[in-house]
Structures are given as C-alpha cells and as structure tokens.
Amino acid sequence: MSGLTPSQTVGPWFAYGLTPNGQYDWSDLATGNLITPDVAGDRIRIEGVVSDGDGAPMPDAMIEIWQADGQGRLPVRGGNGATPNTSFKGFGRSPTDPKGLFWFDTVKPGAIAAPDGKPQAPHILVAVFARGLLTHLYTRLYFADEAANASDPILKLVPADRRDTLIAKKETRGGKTVYRFDIRIQGEGETVFFDV
C-alpha cells in the first residue's frame, strides 16, 4: 500500500503542452472536437464560460469531458458491460479563451446504466483545471430537455435549489443545437462540484 502522488495546479502555462490547438508546435492529444465520421448520435455543441468568485472570466482554465456516444456506449476496452464501438474517443479537452469560453463539438450521449442497473439520465463528466486550482474539480453536465433528469440517481443527491447549475440550456443557432453550460467556481450560482 502506498500513498497517492498529490495533485498540483496545472498552472497558467499549460497551453503549449496540453492544448496546443495549432497555436504551438506540438501535437494535440485531444481537442474540443470529438466528432468522428462514424459516431452515433445527434451532433451538438457545448459551450460555456468559466468564472471565478468575482464573476470574472477565467482565461487560463482547461475543461476535460468524458462521455458515452448517442447509444450510451462508453468507448472502453472490454469489461464492465461497456461496448467498444467506433473510433469515437468519448474524451475532449478545451482550453478557455481570453473571455473564459470553452467549447466542444460532440454528440448528445445516450442514457447509460448505473451499477444497480437503473439508468442514469444522459450526462457528461466534466473535469476543471486552472491556475489557482490546486486539485481539479469534478462536475456533471445534464441536458435541459431530458425528462429522465427527474429520476436521475445522482441529480437526486443534489439539493433541489442547486440542480440548475448542472443543467445545460438548449439553444438553436444557425440550425445547430447548442447547449450552454457556464461553470462558476465560486460565489453566486456556484456550480455543484462532486466529491468522488
């Protein structure tokens, strides 16, 4: 038995290593674009602003997401009942821009099973990294137009008056579906974060 290696902040200068996105001469492991030609599901954009305790946008944060495809399949190898499917990676990574904005082009995930077999409402796992954040934060993104939210076992654990912070709002823009998911680290409308 050995203790964990402790977390440290990602710092302000991670972009050239983790999110070069064509701005730096290094390859991208993952970007905000998760779309692959064969991916199953409705194409959507997710976007939001990360802001601090003063409500000021955070231009030096990084958001990572992990999600199932449109049929609720997590793209993992073997085991756990999850099905390897397409070239869809299920993982995305986006820096925030100078206005604190991050974005992902992906598909809306299907419902996936909970350990007790009860389905969870469609959701995406979200991890937040930033300068000034010593240990990353976990949250979840749910979709405003899903009736299944009402019976989701995880959402039920969240005080009713704070659930709203986990629900991405649907907009249509130029014929495209956009879900808005702002992340407030601290203060009024503070996003619910999970201790997992």
Binding site: G3, S7, Q8, T9, A82, I185, F194, V196
Partner: protein, 233 residues
C-alpha cells in the same frame, strides 16, 4: 478484474483554499462538494494506446529546429503504480516544462529569460507492461512569479496522467532534490502531509545515469485505485 477507488487516500491532495497561494482565494468552491457513488461514468476513462504517441515524443531534446537544446541533459523515468503498488500499464504521461533558463514558450509569459529555439518543452509517453515510462529532457530552471515579493518557483516539471479511469486522473508537478526554493514555495507546501509532499520530489538515480552523456532522475507516481482482489500474503 475490478478496481476500487478509496476516498480516504484523497486526503493527501492540497486543500483548494490555501492562503499562501493567492490565486486560490477566488478559485475554490465555498459550498460543500456533494458526495456521490461511483457509476460507470466515473469508473471508466479514455483508453490510450501507441496511436496516442509518436516515436520521439518522449525525447524533448530532439524537438529542436537546428539541434539540441542548451542545458543539462537528463534521463527522467519511473513507474506509474496504483495504491497497492501494482504497475499501471498503458498510462499516458504528458509533461511540460521551462527551458534551462526558466522560460516557457507560452505566448503570455513575460519572464525576461531567453527562449531556446531547440526546446519547446512538451513531451508524451506511455507506460509499458511494468508501468515504466522514460523521458529524455533537460533540467528546467527556476522562474519568478507574482504571488508575493521575490517569489520564485523551484525548478519543476508539470505532469499529467491518465490511468485506469476518469477517477485516477492526475495533474501534478515534480520537483528536484535539494532545491533551496522548495521551503519558500506555497504551491508545493500546499501539500501539508510531509510524506506526501516528499513524493513529489524525484530522486537522483546513479544506476541509470549514462556515463559521458546524462544524469538520471527517477520519479514514481501513485495513481488512485486499487485492485479489488485481496493481496496474497
């Protein structure tokens, strides 16, 4: 094989509100985090294979435009382990760091130290079946930051790791033994458990030092998760 993810061992991580590191003040949640069970979403994570890395990604001294970077060449290697000290194979390790002069290539960085056209400072490696990874790089430099008067970061290399699930995700920093700046550095001191803090410091490795070529340092990393099967005694 299933993996369990104890919550208790997470206590070694720094508090997100650490007064010595000023930027934490407005960047930590003040409402309590909600404890939730681990579902399929948490217990899975992105899988990386050799398609995620290209030959040479692990040699940061070979990414230059005209030749090798300036500075002290080092071999940096170690094992990625789980909480039962079992190897984690196929863990993706990403690193980024300053050049020998303490300068990052990030466009926003204003530290008046020279850039090195032969050093970009980013690398990537995958652990083998024994959980072993290896980089070749140069020793980074200390650099100033605005946290307090005369604040300098000790030389460090940033590490980002993917293990067996989204729960074992880790972003950390590795420090060098004997660095006098460590005792003045609020970021490393945010880890208050002294044994845990020591785990962020690599060790000089004479056995793997390559004669006439490079010093070696070893940095083992322990990720969250342990085998659900009881260990045999």
């Amino acid at each position: 094989m299933s993996i369990v993810y104890p919550i208790d061992s997470m206590k070694v991580h720094p508090s997100r509100a650490f007064a010595g590191y000023k930027s934490t003040a407005k960047r930590h949640p003040v409402k309590p985090l909600i404890i939730v069970p681990h579902t399929m979403s948490e217990l899975t994570g992105p899988v990386y294979g050799h398609d995620a890395i290209r030959p040479g990604d692990e040699d940061l001294t070979a990414h230059g435009k005209t030749g090798e970077p300036l500075g002290e060449r080092i071999v940096l290697h170690g094992y990625v382990l789980d909480e039962d000290a079992r190897p984690v194979p196929d863990a993706l390790v990403e690193i980024w760091q300053t050049n020998a002069a303490g300068r990052y290539i990030h466009v926003g960085e204003k530290h008046p130290a020279p850039l090195d056209p032969n050093f970009t400072g980013a690398g990537r490696a995958l652990t083998d079946k024994d959980g072993h990874y290896k980089f070749v790089t140069i020793k980074p430099g200390a650099y100033p930051w605005g946290n307090h008067h005369n604040a300098w970061r000790p030389a460090h290399i940033h590490f980002s790791l993917f293990g067996r699930s989204f729960l074992s995700r880790l972003v950390t920093q590795m420090y060098f033994p004997g660095d006098p700046l460590l005792e003045y550095d609020p970021i490393s001191q945010s880890v208050t458990d002294l044994k845990a803090r020591a785990r962020m410091i690599c060790s000089f490795d004479l056995d793997n030092t390559v004669p006439e070529w490079a010093l070696a340092y070893r940095f083992d990393i322990v990720l969250r998760g342990r085998d659900a099967t009881p260990m045999e005694h």
